[in-house]
């Protein structure tokens, strides 16, 4: 089964970007720096988790850096982003200071959600990241509604809605795709296919394992891209995002990549074969991109080392910022229950009487 899927996947993958040597070197440098930053950031997040500085669930973008950086580079700053719970890298690549992202993991007031959200629930109004969401599929109707609001107001923003492969099996996925086509909404649904919903493979969970084809049930354009190729991801996303912007039509992009580690920090991924893990390592998007840059002689090794070091240093700075940020004051516990103040709200701690 796995072999069959892998073969199909390769057949359907689009490789449509220009040669690397024709790309703007500053852009390439920025991609590499961001990918290195996200790689290091996630390694530091895992470390912080094992040191009990980070609690809850913690899902990492390790192995998905090319998809994260390629998609985010295709958005305008005013475009909206909704993601699932594996969103640290997206938050950074959408323009949020990495320190604030790490501070959210640390549960500090300087975090993206002031310490109320944690790993799965990043948000930033200014960067237009309208939420990481912990319920599989929960973000899809919301993103669809955001796109509806854009058309309601006659705006030219696009909504990008990220999800994992497992999400394509939940009802909200199908309802949202249907609504997006019916209402001609400027939204791109991004399916990050790492072949594993926790430990369940796409073959075992999806009757149509070529996930991009699911769009066709709604007469929506769907396509697949190699999610480990940052330039291919960027090209495909940019094309679909601009099509959404100019034609107000939704699309689905499936980005196929390998998860380098377990589902979350605490998952040793014993269900994966040695071959699969080796394949994931071989497909490492960061290694691959750096090798491609070296082979194309865009930068020499020293320059590459410098760019990677800059990215890694930014992640280390994020940890330092988080560690010295203040914890929320318990007095703020009731600050965010309602936006409009209302009578009769019980502001009581567990042992308090109500009268």
């Amino acid at each position: 089964m796995a072999t069959r899927t892998a073969r199909r996947r390769n057949e359907a993958t689009t490789i449509d970007h220009a040669p690397i040597s024709s790309e703007d070197p500053d852009t390439l440098r920025q991609y590499l720096r961001q990918m290195a930053l996200i790689r290091r950031f996630e390694e530091r997040a895992a470390q912080g988790y094992t040191q009990a500085r980070i609690g809850g669930y913690c899902h990492l973008n390790l192995g998905e850096e090319a998809t994260v950086v390629g998609t985010m580079a295709a958005l305008h700053p005013t475009d909206y982003l909704f993601t699932n719970y594996r969103e640290h890298g997206y938050a950074i690549a959408k323009g949020i200071d990495p320190g604030r992202v790490m501070a959210e993991l640390y549960g500090r007031t300087t975090g993206t959600s002031k310490g109320w959200g944690g790993s799965m629930h990043m948000f930033d109004t200014e960067a237009r990241l309208l939420g990481g969401y912990g319920i599989v599929g929960g973000q899809l109707p919301l993103a669809t509604g955001a796109a509806l609001a854009v058309t309601y107001r006659g705006g030219d923003e696009v909504v990008l809605c990220q999800m994992g492969d497992g999400t394509t099996n939940i009802g909200a996925f199908h309802e949202s795709l249907n609504l997006a086509v019916l209402w001609n909404l400027p939204i791109v649904f991004l399916v990050v296919n790492n072949d594993l919903g926790m430990g369940t493979t796409v073959d075992r969970s999806s009757a149509e394992p070529e996930l991009f084809k699911r769009a066709s049930a709604y007469r929506m354009h769907g396509e697949r891209v190699d999610g480990a190729d940052v330039l291919a991801v960027h090209a495909a996303t940019a094309r679909l995002v601009e099509r959404a912007r100019t034609e107000s039509r939704p699309a689905l992009l499936e980005a196929v990549s390998k998860r380098l580690k377990g589902h979350s920090v605490v998952d040793p991924a014993r269900y994966r074969s040695a071959d699969d893990v080796a394949a994931a390592r071989d497909a490492d998007p960061l290694v691959r991109f750096r090798a491609a840059l070296a082979a194309a002689r865009v930068f020499d090794e020293a320059e590459l080392d410098t760019v990677v070091a800059e990215g890694r240093a930014a992640a280390d700075d994020a940890v330092a910022f988080a560690a010295k940020s203040p914890h929320p004051d318990v007095a703020t516990l009731f600050d965010h229950t309602y936006a409009t103040p209302v009578a009769s709200v019980a502001r009581r701690l567990p042992a308090d009487p109500i009268f």
Partner: protein
């Protein structure tokens, strides 16, 4: 003073709010071309067009979620769910998203939306279409839940709910749509989180919300003929719950009956009784009695359905027994 039906109070308020604020739009199943399953949106598609009055496919999770997303960008959607029973299909979006988005993201974005939905049995619609499950939402911090029992309150609370920046679940009732009542031209603003004493009295407090607040008033009228002065408290808001008002009443009357259309065990009345126990213990002359639906999936057959649902007679029975226990009759 103008007399309006509960239905007309809702319809006219939706119309006024659509005129007042371009950000307000209506969304739901069969609200446009069909003009609403219960005709609350009659004429509105024709007047405002399909941008402001948006028909949806049968996708409760999808369109409730879409309304939340639109609200996050500053629009003010008013969702119609055909009945509260169908809210169960959208409960992830209501409970995990609408209720959480303001707090979970540290107060960065609010969700200014209303979800209107009728509850109520008594129409021989059977078990899946006759539920009173407002408790599911009244349980959740971050949501506001209101349940008006009169045309005037329906108008005032809907207006307040639409202008509120939080998700407000607006409970209507199938049995109330045709009820008529006076609605003043200069209707005072309603406040969410405030109960109302709808009839003053001294001997016993009758507490209800939505249909049962109206039933409690009927019961008080009948008790008056028996020489009993019953005070009626209409909760109006289920979250937040105005404990002060109901406790203040029971501190004076010394006994209470709470009437609810939902099931007794863990129901709204349980919370009311517990609040009275904590806030008026020294004033209570008898245990708080609860009148609630029989704990069965509501049957279709009229004889069974009638037996299962609370009525004026069941409120009267509980009230008379309570009054007898405290020696007031």
């Amino acid at each position: 003073m103008p007399v309006l039906s509960y239905r007309e109070a809702l319809r006219s308020t939706l119309r006024e709010e659509l005129i007042r604020d371009d950000n307000v739009f209506l969304i739901g199943e069969e609200i446009g071309v069909f003009e609403g399953s219960y005709k609350i949106t009659e004429g509105l598609l024709g007047e405002f067009g399909d941008k402001r009055v948006r028909d949806t496919p049968i996708s409760e999770e999808g369109f409730v979620g879409a309304a939340i997303g639109a609200a996050m960008l500053g629009l003010r959607p008013v969702v119609e769910l055909m009945t509260i029973n169908f809210s169960l299909i959208a409960i992830d979006q209501i409970v995990n998203h609408a209720a959480k988005i303001y707090g979970m993201f540290g107060g960065q974005t609010s969700v200014p939306m209303v979800i209107r939905m009728p509850g109520g049995g008594g129409q021989q619609l059977g078990a899946t279409h006759s539920q009173n499950i407002e408790l599911y939402y009244a349980f959740v911090p971050g949501l506001k839940v209101v349940a008006p029992s009169t045309p005037a309150d329906a108008k005032a609370l809907l207006r307040t709910a639409i202008r509120d920046d939080d998700p407000v679940l607006f409970l209507e009732n199938l049995a109330l749509y045709n009820v008529k009542g006076e609605v003043p031209e200069d209707l005072p603003t309603a406040e969410i989180g405030r109960a109302a004493v709808t009839r003053p009295g001294t001997d016993i407090t009758l507490i209800g919300y939505s249909r049962m607040a109206a039933v409690a008033l009927d019961a008080a009228e009948k008790l008056a003929a028996e020489g009993v002065s019953a005070e009626v408290v209409d909760l109006r808001s289920l979250r937040p719950l105005d404990r002060e008002t109901l406790v203040r009443s029971v501190r004076r009357t010394g006994c209470a009956v709470v009437a609810e259309d939902d099931w007794l065990t863990y129901g709204i009345g349980a919370e009311v009784a517990a609040s009275i126990s904590e806030g008026a213990f020294d004033h209570l002359d008898a245990p708080v009695r609860r009148v609630a639906a029989a704990e069965v999936p509501l049957p279709y057959a009229k004889s069974l359905e009638d037996a299962a649902l609370p009525s004026v007679d069941s409120v009267l029975t509980a009230a008379r027994e309570t009054l007898h226990a405290v020696g007031r009759r």
